[in-house]
């Protein structure tokens, strides 16, 4: 980020602005840009899901609000904002209000942990991965609290189902994560991305050597996010709406947006771990080829963000695709699937990775 920093300071000193203001504002600008973009992406995701599901089922999807329906999510959000916030009389007020906040905040926090490009890393700890996992686990608490505090039997079922489900699927995630950490020899997401830039290009990304881990992790993240076919906590045809049955208005919107930002965050996480993060699939960055000099180098950072978001969109597309095709799993089979199948093969995967690192470690040095 040094290069951009110098450009910025130079620009400011030309206009007689003290350097201290430049030091403070420099980090604010990309953070603000990226967060606005992220929130827009989350809104777009909701629309994308509805559009895609529409196409999968031979419908048009939302197409009335704004051109091609692009304002549909905004209209929905506006509607939810205007709706009355109903708290059931027998609900636990404090916890009932706390749950949506607990859902939405961690979803924003984890977005800050992702390396969007080689320079844009808001929080750059050595153990980024661990912090990510901790914060990504927060919604389980929110769903349990929400399910319990609503004082509704369906909500309670939804919350309980979610806890048993997330507990079962956290372990496979942890083990496949360990495989990646072993390969990259680092717990920092930025370093994991860099470790994937090998001479083999796309094939060198971790999805190739760690294919089992990738699939296991993908499935487990579906379960963590309560996405189809693991959407038991909010199974519409069984539990009405599961843990958020009693929520309405803004609280429901927070749950909803939290879910989608987590989906987006997890898709980013997966692409960083397995699909090379911000690396270009062609080996070289387009902006450096087409634009030389300063502009090219500034555009490079944005191109990296573009690649990362493109990869995460691919993952999200697969997630939506799965939703269009699969029925919901039975709760008992769901737990069995994790404990009896995913967990053993993820451990096996870890073993394989250790062997790979031992014999062919040079590739990912």
């Amino acid at each position: 980020m040094n290069y951009l920093y110098f450009l910025y300071i130079e620009f400011l000193t030309k206009h007689n602005v003290p350097q201290i203001i430049g030091d403070i504002t420099f980090y604010c600008i990309p953070i603000t840009i990226i967060f606005i973009v992220l929130l827009l992406v989350v809104l777009a995701l909701v629309l994308a899901e509805r559009k895609l599901l529409g196409w999968f089922t031979q419908r048009k999807g939302p197409n009335r609000v704004g051109f091609w329906g692009i304002l549909q999510t905004l209209a929905d959000a506006l509607k939810l904002l205007c709706k009355e916030n109903i708290t059931p009389s027998s609900a636990d007020r404090f916890l009932f209000n706390l749950a949506p906040i607990l859902m939405f905040t961690p979803a924003l926090v984890v977005l800050g942990l992702i390396p969007y490009s080689s320079e844009f890393m808001f929080v750059n700890f050595q153990t980024n991965v661990l912090i990510y996992i901790i914060f990504a686990g927060f919604p389980i608490l929110s769903i349990l609290i929400g399910g319990w505090a609503s004082n509704n039997k369906y909500s309670l079922f939804g919350g309980m189902r979610n806890v048993s489900q997330v507990l079962a699927y956290e372990l496979p995630i942890a083990f496949s994560l360990l495989g990646v950490i072993t390969l990259a020899s680092s717990m920092n997401l930025g370093k994991i991305t860099l470790a994937q830039s090998t001479q083999y290009g796309v094939l060198g990304w971790f999805w190739m050597p760690c294919i089992i881990g990738f699939i296991v992790m993908f499935i487990s993240i579906l379960a963590e996010l309560n996405r189809c076919p693991f959407d038991l906590p909010e199974a519409e045809s069984e539990l009405i709406c599961g843990y958020n049955t009693e929520y309405s208005g803004m609280r429901f919107a927070l749950f909803y947006l939290g879910e989608y930002s987590l989906l987006f965050a997890n898709a980013l996480f997966l692409s960083v771990l397995f699909l090379g993060g911000y690396l270009s699939p062609f080996g070289k960055y387009i902006s450096t080829v087409f634009f030389g000099g300063q502009i090219g180098e500034i555009l490079l950072y944005f191109e990296q963000v573009f690649w990362l978001i493109l990869k995460s969109f691919f993952i999200i597309f697969v997630v939506i695709w799965i939703r269009a095709v699969f029925p919901r799993m039975a709760s008992f089979d769901l737990l069995k699937f994790s404990w009896a199948f995913l967990l053993p093969i993820s451990i096996l995967n870890l073993l394989l990775m250790v062997l790979l690192k031992y014999f062919m470690g040079g590739v990912y040095a």
Binding site: T57, C228, S237, R323, P327, R328, A330, D333
Partner: protein
């Protein structure tokens, strides 16, 4: 074991997967169902009481509301009663028209069930796919009868007017044939679907017979009983009732898919007959001031949801003295008490859905 309190859960009457207003009072131990008690009557319209104060022709339009998804079958039952009482013989063409429309209606009903059942299991797409094909049938109904559902097309002694545009039906059958293969590809090969339906909700033969379960549900338990084989309309038609041995939810699903093919065969034969008999030749019964001779009349037919029958006792007036409907779903709901005991909540949805219960039929 520890002493636990059971959780009482009211599934319905407003619940996405009870297909209307069925209310199941469940007692749950964890997610396991300890006891299930169906509570019906939220859609009761007093069909039988209504019959006793309306004349036959006044009552007739309400008849196909008993099962709005298979209205033709109930129209047919009621017309049959009148025709039996007054000894009216139907011409060949009228019979063929009736068979054609009844079987199309059966296909429409089954298609809806397939979509709705997959929706119950949590798959969103098949619902729209089957509705797409059902739409073609409803469009044809609209063309012929002027209505998409609740057609009121059969009248005492015949049909309201002659049928036309049979090419539409032939075209539809061709489309359906390819689409059934599509359904099989997306549903039958889906591991999660198989896991959720195979071996679930096993309905033993004697339990089914004892509970007076009829129709597809009974045949999927291995009893060869199809009331179409002895019905007067279906005389001269060749078809084989779908009898399968699996007894579980998956078999019931398969049986309905196979029945689509079987109904298409019947429709093809009906079209042949329509082509041979081009004259309508119907002797209609004057409906205004219609009085049935004193006596008891009974008609029955194989509706999509099992045996449906109508019983009329007449005392020579222009209204029935007593009219009784028998519907398949009512007994299926009654069976839920037994079938759901000891299953898990999300299996329960799969099992209850697989019996093809529709509530207006239960509540009458």
């Amino acid at each position: 074991m520890t002493n636990t309190n059971l959780l009482k859960l009211n599934l319905g009457p407003q619940h996405p997967s009870t297909h209307g207003v069925l209310r199941l009072i469940l007692e749950l131990d964890g997610e396991k169902i300890v006891s299930c008690k169906p509570d019906v009557g939220y859609l009761h319209r007093g069909m039988e009481k209504m019959a006793e104060r309306l004349s036959y022709v006044q009552y007739y339009p309400t008849v196909d509301r008993i099962d709005y998804l298979a209205g033709f079958f109930y129209s047919e039952l009621f017309c049959e009663i009148i025709e039996k009482a007054l000894n009216v013989e139907l011409s060949e063409r009228v019979k063929a028209i009736r068979v054609l429309l009844l079987e199309l209606n059966r296909i429409a009903s089954h298609l809806l069930w397939i979509g709705a059942y997959l929706m119950d299991l949590g798959a969103v797409s098949p619902f729209f796919y089957t509705f797409r094909e059902r739409e073609l049938i409803l469009k044809y109904f609209e063309k012929i009868t002027g209505q998409r559902m609740m057609n009121n097309y059969f009248i005492f002694g015949g049909v309201r007017r002659d049928i036309f545009d049979i090419e539409d039906v032939e075209e539809f059958l061709e489309i359906l044939k390819t689409k059934i293969k599509d359904y099989e590809r997306i549903i039958d090969s889906n591991p999660i679907f198989l896991q959720r339906t195979k071996g679930k909700g096993v309905l033993e033969q004697n339990v089914a017979l004892n509970g007076a379960i009829t129709g597809v549900n009974l045949r999927a338990s291995g009893v060869n009983l199809d009331f179409r084989t002895k019905h007067k309309l279906y005389e001269g038609y060749e078809f084989t009732p779908i009898v399968s041995e699996g007894k579980d939810c998956y078999t019931r699903y398969r049986a309905r898919v196979l029945e689509l093919n079987e109904s298409s065969k019947l429709i093809k034969q009906a079209i042949e007959k329509l082509k041979q008999n081009s004259a309508l030749n119907q002797t209609l019964i004057q409906p205004i001031g219609l009085k049935l001779p004193a006596g008891e009349f009974y008609s029955e037919i194989e509706a999509p949801r099992g045996l449906a029958s109508c019983y009329v006792k007449s005392d020579g007036e222009n209204k029935p003295y007593r009219l009784k409907w028998r519907t398949g779903s009512y007994y299926a709901v009654n069976l839920l008490r037994k079938l759901l005991k000891g299953t898990y909540l999300n299996d329960a949805i799969a099992i209850a859905g697989s019996l093809d219960i529709i509530l207006p039929e239960v509540d009458k």
